[in-house]
Symmetry: C2
Subunit: 367 residues, 2 copies
């Protein structure tokens, strides 16, 4: 069967070669007489996959030796709790910039986590207006606490489609970023990032593994009055083999990052994401009487293009005709409505061109 | 290539039909034009898999409506923290029966978790003697705190190979069990179990998903002063779709439990586990000048058969010749040494007969 053009917001499209390799090796892995799913995580054949996954991520994202690369579980939402548990020192405060639903939840979890330890979380600024987040804040709106344990931002807002073009300056206060929806789609200046985390299921792999990239000194200085299994240090010291890792998700992440490197690496992927986004936003702007892209121009996401049609009836018609044309996953998040095209790393330009062509035709027929 | 006889302690052997189905459907899932790994977890095609996995587990293990079935992440070790976070009420205490390394860690995590909330954990009894755990305790050794929030046990000790033949009576105090290594291999009287948890990667699926089965009233009454993502209630109320679940691990769990049901269901599987264990222990006992099974007879595990040879040199020779004969995963845990045959649900009797035959021949040649 023909593969669809997949605009799912996550789990999302994966490189076909990563999937085909997964299928080929699925039952019998590399002459071991068993599936990788049946391997002990302490066997050299699995350890090789595990280390390759870390190595390829380092190569792809130019992650320096100053930072550890950890594989964890539970998604970004688990990190909403693990970040303050590890990094928010008793009696201190952490600063949160609230630019979307997940940023808000990260702040709320930090509040719950900090209470019994006498620490706290603070909202620096929120761009929520009438329950919509259509921009990231201006520098002038943010006044950080110089004594904060860290500043937390959400690099890309998956639901509303806004993104930080560049990260705020936080001086000596460590900058922590939830990069779930754009990790792997853009270059990162690691000298400015103390800790980043991302569920893999958008740009770099399947659901079931969360990547944490953090400064070694910060991880080593993490709190030790929290459960061992919550401590970044335990994952760092064991190369993420503290307990049984999500073996197959890590294997598929490796296959995915391998494919992204084979396609030309991050420079090519980032340029393609920008070009895909420019095509769709350009189309919306040129047909602005029909397609409305509500996010402020300079805050527009290069991976989640959110747009609206004149009516909910047209939304439904759009989704149904798009599906018939082999374009799926275009429904906006249930809390936002409208439409959304997630154009992550593995959604190549030809798929986006198909969508743009469909949008032109649909507008002509329905405006 | 011929499949090996796989005695890995976990991740471990899976039913061949579960793997073959996984392979067949891997790139294009059920006419959707994409892999299941690329599906949104909110799509009906995935939700069907998700609900089937829950339904098949309920059917296979006869889990009544009084209990919820949750899918979580992070393995049993994450549950070491989540259990006290959810169930250990502020100011109260929890009782731990320490019968192995993981039971001890569960107690230690509970101690760390409880401190900031003014609660505590208590060791009822430990069967650790000279760093070895070779038995579960007698009833007479256990005096439970009638005011405890719960009593925690480890149903099967993976490392040392001991198992509770029947669970202790705890009166009105809820009994919580880490069932990671025997969940799915034996019947459970759910009227006696308040909450059980298990990493799937031993008897019922791959690594990457943790099953929690808990009484609904207990889950609903769980603490609300902890992060949302730690609360059992959140998973229960959302049918474990609180955030992105580990989609593919749940799919493979479904395939695995489907196969176990097709093989005859839990009655057949439990009888087979007992017969496999009896074969190996019987052989050790009949050749007791060569093979020593250190676990006390009535505490012997039906899924992890631990045994020792007269010398470490013979251990190495055994492992190397066994591997050449297509028998893998027989090395004891690095903290215990010796040998261990993990004979979980998907390790069928013919594989265990091959191992027994090998052990007879090896003893004859080396005693």
């Amino acid at each position: 069967m023909k593969r669809v053009a997949n605009f799912n917001a996550g789990p999302a499209a994966l490189p076909l070669e990563a999937l085909e390799r997964g299928q080929r090796e699925f039952v019998a892995f590399e002459g071991t007489g068993m599936s990788l799913l049946e391997h002990s995580h302490r066997e050299p054949s699995y350890e090789k996959v595990h280390r390759e996954a870390i190595g390829l991520l380092r190569e792809y994202l130019s992650i320096p030796d100053t930072h550890d690369v950890l594989f964890m579980q539970g998604g970004a939402r688990m990190q909403f709790a693990f970040v303050p548990l590890n990094l928010l020192q008793p009696g201190k405060s952490a600063d949160y910039v609230v630019t979307g639903t997940w940023a808000k939840q990260a702040y709320e979890e930090a509040t719950l986590v900090s209470k019994p330890y006498g620490s706290s979380a603070r909202v620096v600024v929120s761009t929520e207006k009438d329950k919509k987040f259509t921009r990231v804040p201006e520098t002038s709106e943010m006044s950080f606490d110089a004594e904060a344990s860290y500043v937390h931002i959400t690099s890309n807002n998956t639901l509303f489609g806004s993104q930080w073009a560049s990260y705020p300056e936080t001086g000596n206060v460590p900058l922590v970023a939830d990069m779930t929806s754009d990790f792997g789609s853009r270059k990162v200046d690691w000298s400015k990032i103390a800790l980043a985390y991302a569920g893999a299921q958008k740009n770099i792999g399947p659901a079931g593994v969360t990547v944490v990239v953090g400064r070694k000194d910060l991880i080593q200085a993490g709190r030790t009055d929290i459960p061992q299994i919550f401590r970044y240090k335990g994952y760092a010291d064991s190369e993420s083999l503290l307990n049984t890792p999500p073996v197959f998700a890590i294997y598929m992440l490796r296959n995915t990052v391998r494919a992204l490197l084979d396609w030309g690496g991050l420079e090519v992927i980032e340029a393609e994401c920008k070009a895909k986004a420019a095509l769709l936003y350009g189309l919306c702007d040129s047909l602005s009487d029909f397609y409305r892209a509500p996010v402020e121009t300079k805050s527009r996401s290069t991976v989640n293009v959110v747009f609206q049609l004149p009516s909910e009836e047209l939304d439904k018609k759009f989704l149904s005709e798009a599906k018939a044309a082999g374009l799926v996953g275009l429904k906006g998040h249930r809390s936002v409505g409208g439409l959304r095209a997630s154009i992550y790393t593995a959604v190549r330009m030809p798929s986006v061109q198909l969508l743009a062509e469909f949008m032109r035709t649909f507008a002509a027929a329905n405006r």
